[in-house]
Amino acid sequence: MGSNMAENHPVGFRWPMQAKERGATIIHVDPRFSRTSAVADLYVPIRPGSDIAFLGGLINYVLNHDKWFKEYVIAYTNASSIVGDDYVDAEDNGGLFSGYDPKSGSYDNASWAYSGPPQEAKEDASAHTGHGMEGTSPAKHRPARDETLQHPRSVFQILKHHYARYTPEMVERVCGTPQSLFLQVAEVLTRNSGRERTSAICYAVGWTQQSYGAQIIRAAGILQLLLGNIGRPGGGIMALRGHASIQGSTDVPTLFDLLPGYLPHPAAFKGDDTLERYMRESAVRGGYWSNLPKFMVSLLKAWYGDAATAENEFGYQWIPKLTGDHSHISTSAAMADGKVKGFVVFGQNPANGSAHAGLQRRALTQLDWMVAIDLYETETAAFWYAAPEGWKPADIKTEVFLLPSAGPPEKDGTFTNTQRLLQFHDKAVDPPEDARSDLWFLYHLGRRLKELYSGSTNPRDQGLLNLTWDYLPGRPNPEWRIKDEPSDEKVLMEINGYTVADGKQLPDFERLKADGSTACGVWIYSGVFPGPEKNMARRRTRSPDNDVNPEWGFAWPGNRRILYNRASADPAGQPWSERKKYVWWDAAAGKWTGRDVPDFPAKKAPGTPAKERGSGIDLHSGSDPFTLKADGRGWLFAPSGLKDGPLPTHYEPLESPLSNALYERQDSPVAKRFPRKDNAISPPGDPGYPYIVTTYRVTEQYTSGVMSRWNSWLSELMPEMFAEISPELAREKGIANLDWITVSTPRNQIECKALVTQRMRPLRHDGRLIHTVGLPYHWGYKGLVKGAMANDLVALSEEPNVYIQEDKAMTCSLRKGRLR
């Protein structure tokens, strides 16, 4: 669901196809009949934006038909935990959970907490949310549990109640999916889950680019936990990410709200005034996140070296504090308003590839200066003379630098793929002429800035001056023409971490300390470079006897290929079945063993009771697999961590032709809109914009086209922008295949050719036919082949947890003919 894997991850899709040859069933639930649908056993149409209704329907089916994996659910999830008296479910409150403040448009999640005796001396730190921190905040109370699951406020009963109206009839009404097809999915999925079998769910940006994207993934998480499909081979929820190291960019990260390794970024509005306070608020008493102070202090030591001391909070105050939402979308709005002066763009193309591309281009005209770094001239670099707005260059003040950069075979470096696998690529040749790696740019820019500020005694400059910045190799490689290239492996060694006293690289993150004696750039990557010459990301050895291939690259954390794999064994530590044997307890040896690195304390026996006092994973028993969670359990119900509710709930997209059939509340109560003149959003059922519009990619092109439209082979394969519409809609509008058409939203309009195919299928909702228009977004005004930009039509908006725009379900109008 939410992915066209055959089209966008073709080589990864070899594996589902091989599984199919061995008897697996492939189901594709998608608004379009695509290359993936064509080879699936079952294609199931769905209206864009209705994924939670569909998944909620499956959850309801599993509960109603008693198809949940009882031993797994009772032992490994929070089904038995009891939620506090004050909790009110969205089901009983018109689609809103308790704690909603309509004025601020946000939730206070205090009433979502577990019930039970208060835990000693630990405040609720639920303010920290976002990537990876979901579920790491402590429940306020040690949960009371009812393992019979009969308590009316047990998570299990709340779940049943919450999804009771998500019936097959409702799924058909909301999603447009025929009941018979929905029931086939439910039957295949439940039949294929349990001790002997597991099912996997794959998704991509078809889920994340919605105003409740995180909750769609949560819904899949609930379903997979109920079916016992998490932490087991062949199970899981697979994020099919779109870029070579987009996982790496998330882990390291270059995201405003995180520090490396999913540590929350300190923020003034969260009261992170001191390091001590930040660590107290961010650490979680139960589970592995209790070690956060070790990760944080080690990070500060990696960044500021000897200047980071206990006396100066290890340099904590040199890290800027957030004062609000500094995400890409919010920053774009600020830039359009002239509040951003300088912009550095590395291999990125917002003038075409980001939401509301027209606003993005206008924002660039407001800058004093911009640096764009790429292999090719991008729409972003060329905005001042080539944008479709037709501005006069003389009117644009922005000083623009376009620096040529290097591709992967022209530099050493590491990508983290979608499986959390770090793979090193070796430099094969020098980049041409003045082209340089981004590492070169960053190193030499940092060196110059340090020189410009040298001698400053201003406290605000001390962070920069104290940054450890020793990355030139001891001896440049004589083979290369470029002699001042920094050593990529030196950076990777800092990321891995070392002991401060002797500079020795650390074997893994278990050795990190909070006293300043260790340094580590990205704690989750620790172990990638555990000794001199030991670059684990550069390992390229296959293991013929182990299909996990543990010696190919390095997976974080600690080379574990399946997270929470303790759940692949039963509570007593034995495999659920011989067929699904993966990691188990070896009683004779007194340790966990298996095909993968156990994601559990190596010597903690299955029968170990949870400690009542102390902190960390000692508070978990030997049968609590979810080590990062405060209570060690998989969360069906999320008492904290999410800004838009403890349970996924169906809302309509911000723009929808339909009213919410399930709740009075139409759309996400906490998604961020940007109510500006240039960012109008159509109201529900707007007759002016009656069709749904969704964006997608094709195999032969790549995102905004910078890496494909300068390539003659790829441009020839897929030369032209188009809008894909159904024969029914084409007939209704008098449009023939390859006619020019104009597609509009309140933000902008674009022209392109119509591609009339039966792959687009109108769906019936309450007797009404709803049409969907599909738009690829690869074209622009530079490159060998040019065309309209789908992102011109998209609104600025933000999903509340991860700040992603909604472009998979919008509304549009459409007419025959060109723009003018």
């Binding site: 917002p350 922005t398 300068w710």
Partner: protein
């Protein structure tokens, strides 16, 4: 190299097996595998999607002559998709930028500039903007040490080491808070 042998023996095999000779053009007879004369094959990773297909970059005389899937990889076992198979042209392409291009304010054209000049100018502009916009404390007196007047946006075909230095230099060094990435999109 295995591929080379298979190619070289093709015609002989047909003859030995007693099959009727097929009409083969001179061009076909003289064709050789693209990688035949490579000095070496350097392992790399595909720059496109996140599957992480391993590639072999064939180099001759310090130039890339071809890029193919790496048969050793458990991920792709030598295969590549249409984009991955076109990686060669991503790197070896007459449309590629190889010099620094500079557009002065209000100018209507690009100019080529020396790399070192551009680096000096960029560093100076960053310092100027940072110094003019830096906020040490909020009006309520909270220490924030930040600037919102500079933003960075990174692509996700960059190495983790590069991302790490962006966060370190711009965040921990300069106080920039809007450090964002394709991963947000």
């Amino acid at each position: 190299m295995a591929v080379e042998q298979a190619g070289g023996q093709g015609l002989g095999l047909i003859g030995r097996m007693g099959m009727a000779p097929q009409p083969i053009s001179r061009e076909s007879v003289e064709k050789k595998p693209r990688i035949r004369d490579a000095d070496r094959a350097v392992p790399s990773v595909c720059p496109y999607c996140a599957v992480g297909c391993s590639q072999l970059v064939y180099v001759k005389d310090r130039r890339i002559i071809d890029i193919e899937g790496n048969p050793e990889s458990p991920i792709n076992e030598g295969t590549l998709c249409p984009k991955g198979a076109a990686t060669y042209q991503y790197l070896v392409n007459p449309n590629r930028l190889t010099t620094v291009r500079y557009r002065a304010p209000h100018s209507d054209h690009w100019e080529d500039r020396p790399l070192e000049w551009a680096m000096d100018r960029i560093a100076a502009l960053i310092k100027e903007t940072r110094d003019a916009s830096f906020v040490e404390r909020t009006p309520e007196g909270k220490l924030v040490n930040q600037t919102t007047a500079i933003a960075t946006l990174g692509g996700a075909t960059m190495d983790i080491e590069e991302n790490y230095l962006i966060k370190k230099l711009f965040g921990a060094g300069l106080g920039v808070v809007s450090i964002e990435n394709q991963a947000r999109i």
